[in-house]
Each structure stands twice: as structure tokens, then as C-alpha cells.
């Protein structure tokens, strides 16, 4: 950055920050290569893409808008159950179910956000947790629709466009999830680079100053909260559709918490933290549970402590520091 000095050079370097850079192609190249090179892992790949979308939705609220949340699963679960209940009750057309799931999750985000975004900090954190917990109990009690503790069974997801069937090998699931993730990523990227997105970052950096320059901060936070909820709902729908199952864990605190852990490992507020954090978390989970099947979560915790102490900004933060 220190090289840019002249007026137009400085302005250009600032104005070009939203342009695509070569490294941004990496996840997509790897995803396409994975389809051909690792045919046995396609169902797992589809899960990873959906989880990345979910963690990306967390990054939008936490990393960019500074809304600390422990309740992102509320929207993931809402989306999963919406798509699941529709598919189990005679409407299994995947794309319209996905849209309905995102819309329903967005609505839950909007309505809950209207109430809870009036608070900040710890109070807000607790309220996000409460919203997710209430929905969890609601799904538990409404067993007739959700299957309660046993989970929702009997989903019949129709082929995509009436042609591409969700099968055991996961070809359709892989490509479908990848396409939805790329749409979500593109939307998120547009949002964070827009004046609206920058103003959210301003509110994260200093909300008092954002108000003092005349920004309607509350409305902007509510908008991003609803958008993020829609994205989380789409992620939930993806998992429901590609596994034909929805369990109560889709609304659990553990799911919200894991999303935070994945995001922190990858790097918060950097858009690509989700793309790194999710695979790293899954690899770590796999390795740790092999070494220590009972206490593997302890090692995930130890990894978190190490990241927070020695690698603030996660893996992406480390890379940024090494490049300087």
C-alpha cells in the first residue's frame, strides 16, 4: 500500500479493492477438480459446501456488521425444516423449496431482529441464543410436523429440473450445493463491497460515529441480519435436501457454536474465512476423533485457544501477516 502516493494512484488503489483477484478462483477450481478426482467423496463435498454457506452467513453478521451471535442455527434450522416439511408433504420440487426455506428463514430473522437488535453485546448474544433455543423447543414439541426427537423422515425431493436425481453417489447433490454456494458467495461479495456493506463495517468499527454521520444504523443492521438469515436458511435447506433428513441438531447451540469456531479458525470478516475454516475444522475433527475418540472435542477447544492466542484473524490473518 505504501507505494501508492500520487492522487490518482491512491484513489485507484482504494477504488479497486472490490475487483476480483486471482486467489479468489482457488476454491472454485478445487471444487471442480474435486468432482473429477474424488468421486467417492461427493456426498461429503455437498455437506461441506452447505456448511461453508452457513458459516459465510455467520461472517456477514459477525465479521462485517459486528453482530455477535450464538443463534445462527435458528435460521439454518428454519430453512432445513421448511424445505423438509414441504418435501415430506407432497411438494419436493427442490428449487422452489430452497427459495421458500430462504424466505421463511429471512422472515424469522426480520421478526426476531426487530426485537433483539435493540440490544448490544452480551444481552444481544444471549437473545440470539434464546431465539434459537425457543425454535429448538418448538420443533421438539411440534412432533407431528417435525418428527420431534426422531427427526423428520419421509422427505421426497424431486429431481432438479425434473431430470437430475439426488442419488447415493451425490453427483446432483454436489453440483447443486456448489451452484447454490457460488450464488450465495457472489451475493455476499457484492454486499460487503457495496456502500451498504461498507457502512456496516463502519458500524462495527464505531457505532457512535456511524450515528453521528447520520447513518440509520438500526435499519441497516436489521437488513443484514435478515439477509444473513436467508443465506443460513438456504444452507439448511441444502443439507435437508441432499441428505433427505432434518434433525433437531439443525437448530442446536452446537451448530451455531461450530459455525463460530470454523469462522474463527478461517478468519473473521474476510469473506474467505468460511472457505478455509470449514474444511480445516472437518479435517481436524476427523484427525482428532481418530487419535482420541472420546475427548476429540477437547482438542478442537485446544486448537481454538491456540488460534485466539497466536493467530488472531485465523489462518487468513496469519497469511496476511506473513505477506507483509
Amino acid at each position: 500500500m505504501g507505494l501508492a502516493t500520487g492522487r490518482s494512484a491512491v484513489i485507484d488503489s482504494f477504488a479497486r479493492r472490490h475487483r476480483f483477484r486471482a486467489f479468489e478462483a482457488t476454491p472454485w477450481v478445487l471444487a471442480v477438480a474435486g468432482y473429477f478426482l474424488l468421486p467417492g467423496y461427493l456426498p461429503l463435498g455437498a455437506q461441506i459446501f452447505a456448511t461453508i454457506l452457513f458459516v459465510l452467513s455467520t461472517d456477514l453478521v459477525l465479521g462485517y456488521a459486528g453482530i455477535v451471535t450464538l443463534g445462527q442455527a435458528a435460521f439454518f434450522g428454519t430453512g432445513a425444516y421448511t424445505a423438509g416439511i414441504l418435501a415430506a408433504n407432497g411438494w419436493g420440487e427442490p428449487i422452489s423449496d430452497l427459495v421458500a426455506a430462504a424466505a421463511m428463514a429471512g422472515l424469522v430473522g426480520l421478526l426476531s431482529g426487530l426485537i433483539i437488535l435493540r440490544t448490544t453485546g452480551l444481552a444481544l448474544l444471549m437473545q440470539t441464543l434464546i431465539v434459537a433455543t425457543m425454535l429448538y423447543e418448538l420443533a421438539n414439541k411440534a412432533g407431528r410436523w417435525t418428527g420431534g426427537d426422531d427427526g423428520l423422515q419421509g422427505m421426497e425431493v424431486w429431481p432438479i429440473f425434473g431430470v437430475f436425481r439426488f442419488d447415493l453417489f451425490g453427483h446432483a447433490a454436489y453440483i447443486y450445493s456448489l451452484v447454490v454456494l457460488s450464488i450465495g458467495w457472489f451475493a455476499a461479495r457484492r454486499i460487503v463491497n457495496s456502500p451498504f456493506g461498507r457502512s456496516l463495517t463502519g458500524a462495527r468499527e464505531n457505532v457512535a460515529r456511524m450515528r453521528a454521520i447520520g447513518a440509520p444504523v438500526a435499519r441497516r443492521l436489521l437488513t443484514i441480519y435478515a439477509i444473513s438469515a436467508m443465506m443460513a436458511g438456504a444452507a439448511g435447506a441444502l443439507i435437508a435436501q441432499t441428505t433427505s433428513f432434518v434433525g433437531l441438531t439443525s437448530l442446536s447451540l452446537e451448530r451455531s457454536g461450530n459455525a463460530l469456531i470454523m469462522l474463527i479458525i478461517g478468519g473473521v470478516g474476510r469473506l474467505y474465512g468460511a472457505f478455509l475454516g470449514v474444511p480445516l475444522f472437518m479435517i481436524a475433527q476427523d484427525r482428532f476423533s481418530e487419535i482420541d475418540p472420546v475427548y476429540w472435542y477437547f482438542w478442537i477447544g485446544a486448537l481454538m485457544v491456540a488460534v485466539v492466542l497466536f493467530a488472531r484473524g485465523g489462518v487468513l490473518g496469519l497469511i496476511e501477516r506473513l505477506r507483509r
Partner: protein
């Protein structure tokens, strides 16, 4: 009487038994260089918070260019041309100086809520922000995160963000606070160059700065106006000497 840039009538604010503003009648004339001084705890910053809408008054009215803004939100007051700076730097520390000012201009231009075009494509806004920084001698700091700049330069960015709003009335809350008094000349020189059509109310403890800039001084003591007048009258007033200048430290 001509319309004032900013006027309060009977403005009061209490926190329980504590009265931080006690029926303040105050006029800021158009184009004024008006200073508000007073000992610590006199209620100067509370007065600014009432003017900007960060605090709601218990009683009284506030008019901006003749329009009643008493019940308007903070952001609506900014749209009417009222901008402020903060006593303690209140900046977007992790963002570069250029972005700090860009955010303010984008709000002023009404594009800050938009999603369609990337922020970088609003080039006119970025150019204006850069030119504003350059006019304050901050061109070389444009791409530096504000948090790493020297404190004095952060004070300049603090003012640049407010100027980005193209205010009609500018409230400066101790612009020289935290700067060694020998270096406050940079701030003074900059304030002297501000366009005369901006009406300025400055709160400041640095008396050199106050007496060199202000043409009117209001002294606030315990939430009430003690006296108002031109600088020499204030400097000679016995009551002012007693409550304020008597224990001046700078």
C-alpha cells in the same frame, strides 16, 4: 433579529437530581466562531449531545436555521446540516483515513444504503474524500488505517469526517484535546481556514486557541450560562476569573 444558525430556548436536561443543562438560552449566529468554555463538569459535552440528538432534552427547544429539530433523530439532524466531532477520537480505527471520510460523504450523498454498485465505483465520492484529506495535509495518510496514525493526525481525521458531511453548523468538542499545547497550532491553522459560511461552535480548554479563534465566548457553569460576550470582556470578567480562569492550567 435574524434567524440564528442554531438556537436553544430553555434547554434543560436532568439525570435524576443532577441537572446537566439548566434552562439554557443560546444563539449561534450564522458564520459565527463561537466558543463554549467552562470548568470540567460544567455540562459542555452534555450540551453538545443535546444539540446533536444523542441525548433527548427534559425540556426546551432546539432550532436549526429556524426549523424546530428538538424531536428529530440524530441522523435527521445530520441531514439538516448539523455535524459534530468528538472530544475523544471516535473514528473507524481499522479502516483507512480515506474510507473514514468516504463513509461520511456516502451518507451525505444518500448512497450509503445502496447495494447495487460496489463502493469503489462511486469514484466522485472517493475523489472528494481524498481532496478533503489532502487539504488537511493528510494525503500521505489516506491509505493508512486511522488507528496507526499519530494522535494529532487522528484529530485532523476526526474533523475531516465531520467536514465530509458538508455541515452548515459544526460542533467541535475539544478539537485540540490530547495534543501538546505547542502543537495545537496545526489545528488552529486548519480551523482558521474553514469556509466562513460554516457556523462553528467550539468547546475547548486550550485558551490560546479559544481566544485566537472565537469572536464570541459563552461560559457555562454547572449547566447554566454564566456570561456571554466578546473575548476581551470574558477575559476581564471577575466572575469568569473566579470560576474558570482562576485555576487555568495551560
Amino acid at each position: 433579529m435574524t434567524e440564528a444558525a442554531l438556537e436553544t430556548r430553555g434547554l434543560s436536561k436532568s439525570f435524576g437530581a443532577l441537572r446537566v443543562a439548566n434552562s439554557i438560552d443560546f444563539r449561534l449566529e450564522k458564520g459565527a466562531r463561537h466558543a463554549l468554555i467552562g470548568p470540567n463538569g460544567a455540562g459542555k459535552t452534555s450540551f453538545v449531545n443535546l444539540l446533536t440528538g444523542a441525548l433527548q432534552p427534559s425540556d426546551g427547544t432546539i432550532h436549526l436555521n429556524g426549523a424546530d429539530i428538538t424531536h428529530l433523530s440524530q441522523s435527521a439532524r445530520v441531514k439538516h446540516g448539523l455535524a459534530r466531532t468528538f472530544q475523544i477520537n471516535t473514528l473507524f480505527r481499522g479502516l483507512c483515513a480515506l474510507e473514514n471520510v468516504t463513509l461520511a460523504i456516502a451518507e451525505r450523498e444518500g448512497v450509503a444504503g445502496t447495494l447495487l454498485r460496489p463502493a469503489g465505483r462511486h469514484r466522485a465520492i472517493i475523489e472528494e474524500a481524498f481532496d478533503l484529506l489532502a487539504s488537511l495535509g493528510l494525503a500521505d495518510a489516506a491509505l493508512e488505517p486511522v488507528g496507526v496514525l499519530a494522535y494529532g493526525r487522528q484529530r485532523l481525521v476526526e474533523i475531516a469526517v465531520a467536514l465530509g458531511l458538508a455541515p452548515k453548523v459544526l460542533l467541535l468538542d475539544e478539537p485540540a484535546a490530547g495534543i501538546p499545547s505547542g502543537e495545537s497550532g496545526v489545528i488552529l491553522a486548519m480551523l482558521e481556514r474553514l469556509p466562513p459560511e460554516i457556523s462553528i461552535l467550539i468547546i475547548e480548554h486550550d485558551m490560546d486557541l479559544v481566544f485566537r479563534l472565537a469572536t464570541t465566548i459563552t461560559v457555562l457553569v454547572q449547566g447554566s450560562v454564566l456570561i456571554e460576550g466578546p473575548p476581551d470582556a470574558i477575559a476581564d470578567d471577575l466572575r469568569v476569573r473566579e470560576v474558570y480562569l482562576g485555576d487555568r492550567r495551560r
